[in-house]
């Protein structure tokens, strides 16, 4: 038995013991852990191939041609190959747009709304693992909506998925390991950025210092140091950047920046911004998972019990979607979530469970070292989390500006969710993914409150846009017909039987 790739929804069963959402390192590791126990497992993923953003397009890329992606990328080959050889159902290009408690029967489980190939279906699962990954923290600077201003992750995806490198003058701006890693990959691919504008706070390393011993003992240290040294000796590296502004007519042409009291300008055909990775929360949030504020990473994450189980029965999180900690950690948390799901399914007795968890928990502790130092050192500057200039766009979709958000807060919008109704901020197609944290940070600062107490936009289903055609393709249940026609009419009954 090998993997079954399901390209149409018709190939799927109506219910599963375990549905895993996401085929990045966490989702793949969870599947590998769960499948041998004999439970029925389905992996749903939005992308065309397994690997997530970290190992994106790994199955398509030839190692000899894509060597510049580095050993941390190619390490994923073992995981992806093991997954491809594992007897599991895998549906690529499948978008999950809802997750709710089920409604019928004594064991209703969970209901997962998914669309693939223009059709939609509701599947049932007894357990769900959300391995949704991370997204980059939005970096709302003036001009960030101009074409040619992208996130560093986008530069990396272009490199991984299509072998594309930036042409012309490319400027990297922000801070964090991923920015320097991208610079290193671009150098290895023969495309030197024209500058790195580093926004790390100069005194920040002092605050991170108490956590230094952890970093020295971690795998990150030498690897990170090597990348940093290479980048800093090969690319003009401008430290202490306090403000940024992308300028241009119709597209980005220049990047203005301030160090100390002085503004300078660089020509730029492409600007790649980055200030850290935060959990992608749309589906876990919409499912009702309780969220908590992580003050070191300045982000919300689903509250869980250490093995990934959230406040919603049957729903677990794993990987960066649970707490941002990188790909290796994602594999470990994916496995832990699977073990806990197997235990909940009655497929693993407590003694065996403890035995399987022990080495993983040890690994977790080892991998955690070094992370606090990096989180503190690269904690983004307030000016890049809370736009000081009133005219800076906060919500890209609805073009809501910082000044408008500040006025709505001053007017008394009780929380981020009410503020949506004041301004439509966060109500465009991205559903707040690129403004939610900014709004929370702005409200917390203006009211001198803890961001955790302010809260964050509650995502609503469908968490990804689906067409009316897809909605209409959902099987018409008796309940749905009653909801539409107002009564269980003979017509409704006949339609149900026709289906």
């Amino acid at each position: 038995m090998t993997l079954t790739t399901c390209t149409t929804l018709g190939a799927l069963a109506p219910d599963y013991d375990l549905i895993i959402v996401g085929a990045g390192p966490a989702g793949l590791a969870a599947a590998l852990e769960a499948v041998p126990a004999g439970v029925s497992v389905l992996v749903l993923d939005e992308h065309p191939g397994p690997g997530g953003q970290m190992y994106r397009a790994l199955t398509r890329n030839a190692p000899e041609a894509f060597g510049f992606l580095g050993p941390d990328y190619w390490r994923g080959a073992a995981l992806v190959e093991a997954f491809l050889a594992c007897p599991v159902q895998y549906a690529p290009r499948a978008t999950v747009w809802s997750l709710q408690p089920g409604t019928d029967g004594p064991d209703p489980g969970l209901e997962v709304g998914v669309s693939q190939g223009g059709e939609a279906r509701l599947l049932r699962a007894r357990q769900v693992i959300l391995a949704l990954g991370g997204q980059e923290r939005p970096m709302p600077i003036p001009g960030w909506t101009l074409p040619g201003v992208m996130l560093a992750g986008a530069g990396q995806i272009a490199l991984k998925s299509a072998g594309l490198v930036p042409k012309g003058k490319v400027v990297l701006a922000g801070c964090g390991p991923m920015l320097y890693l991208l610079a290193g990959q671009l150098l290895d691919a023969g495309c030197a950025p024209s500058a790195i504008l580093d926004t790390t706070r100069p005194g920040q390393w002092l605050r991170a210092l108490p956590r230094l011993p952890g970093l020295l003992a971690s795998a990150y240290f030498w690897k990170g140091l090597k990348v940093l040294l290479k980048v800093r000796t090969s690319v003009p590296f401008i430290r202490g950047v306090k403000a940024l502004e992308a300028l241009g007519t119709g597209q980005v042409e220049r990047l203005r920046f301030r160090t100390g009291g002085r503004w300078r300008e660089l020509p730029a055909d492409l600007v790649l911004l980055h200030q850290g990775v935060v959990p992608e929360l749309s589906l876990s949030g919409a499912a009702g998972c309780e969220l908590e504020w992580n003050p070191r990473q300045r982000a919300f994450q689903p509250r869980h019990d250490g093995s990934g189980r959230t406040s919603v029965p049957g729903v677990s999180v794993a990987g960066d979607g649970g707490a941002v900690a990188g790909a290796l950690m994602a594999e470990v948390t994916g496995r832990l979530a699977a073990i806990s799901a197997l235990a909940a399914l009655g497929a693993l007795d407590p003694a065996r469970r403890a035995e399987r968890e022990r080495p993983l928990v040890r690994e977790l502790r080892r991998l955690r070292r070094g992370r606090p130092f990096l989180d503190l050192l690269y904690q983004s500057r307030e000016a890049f989390r809370i736009p000081p200039d009133d005219s800076t766009i906060v919500c890209r979709c609805e073009e809501v500006r910082a000044g408008q958000v500040r006025s709505a807060i001053a007017l008394g919008a009780p929380g981020p969710n009410q503020l949506k109704a004041f301004l439509r901020c966060g109500m465009g197609p991205c559903q707040g993914r690129l403004c939610a944290l900014t709004v929370t940070e702005m409200m917390a600062a203006q009211r001198r409150m803890d961001p955790g107490a302010v809260g964050i936009f509650r995502a609503r289903i469908p968490v990804k846009p689906i067409t009316l055609g897809e909605m209409a393709s959902l099987p018409a249940t008796p309940e749905a017909l009653v909801a539409c026609t107002g009564a269980a009419t003979p017509l409704a009954a006949s339609l149900t039987t026709q289906r």
């Binding site: 939005e46 992308h47 065309p48 953003q53 397009a57 398509r60 041609a65 894509f66 997204q135 980059e136 960030w144 909506t145 101009l146 074409p147 040619g148 201003v149 992208m150 996130l151 992750g153 986008a154 995806i157 272009a158 998925s161 299509a162 072998g163 594309l164 490198v165 930036p166 042409k167 012309g168 691919a189 023969g190 495309c191 119709g250 597209q251 055909d269 492409l270 992608e280 890209r396 979709c397 609805e398 073009e399 465009g428 197609p429 991205c430 993914r433 690129l434 846009p465």
Partner: protein
């Protein structure tokens, strides 16, 4: 804005606003457009501002285009295919009241 450093063994052709675009099989529409020098994919709904891809991973919705007549497709999430008709979008999409079967 982007340059291909690895030449694909085979290419396919689709059109963007009538102009032929070469893509490698398995590549997204957005990647192919960026490589062909396209910067502006659409203009925004509220202000008519030019927009192009920001995240390339399906979360920002700034790379929306019309593909084979279907509006608001995320070009970074759709594989390029031979003969595809891709068009830029300007402002909001209207509901088309056509004669559909």
């Amino acid at each position: 804005m982007f340059l291909r450093i690895i030449e694909p063994r085979e290419t396919l052709t689709f059109t963007f606003d009538g102009r032929p675009i070469q893509a490698a099989p398995g590549e997204s529409v957005a990647a192919a457009l960026l490589q062909a020098g396209v910067r502006v994919f659409r203009t925004s709904v509220p202000g008519g501002e030019p927009r192009g891809p920001h995240c390339l991973m399906g979360i920002c919705f700034d790379c929306l285009v019309t593909i084979d007549g279907v509006p608001n497709r995320q070009s970074c999430q759709v594989d390029a295919a031979a003969g595809m008709v891709v068009e830029s979008q300007h402002g909001a999409r209207a509901v088309e009241w056509g004669e559909r079967p």
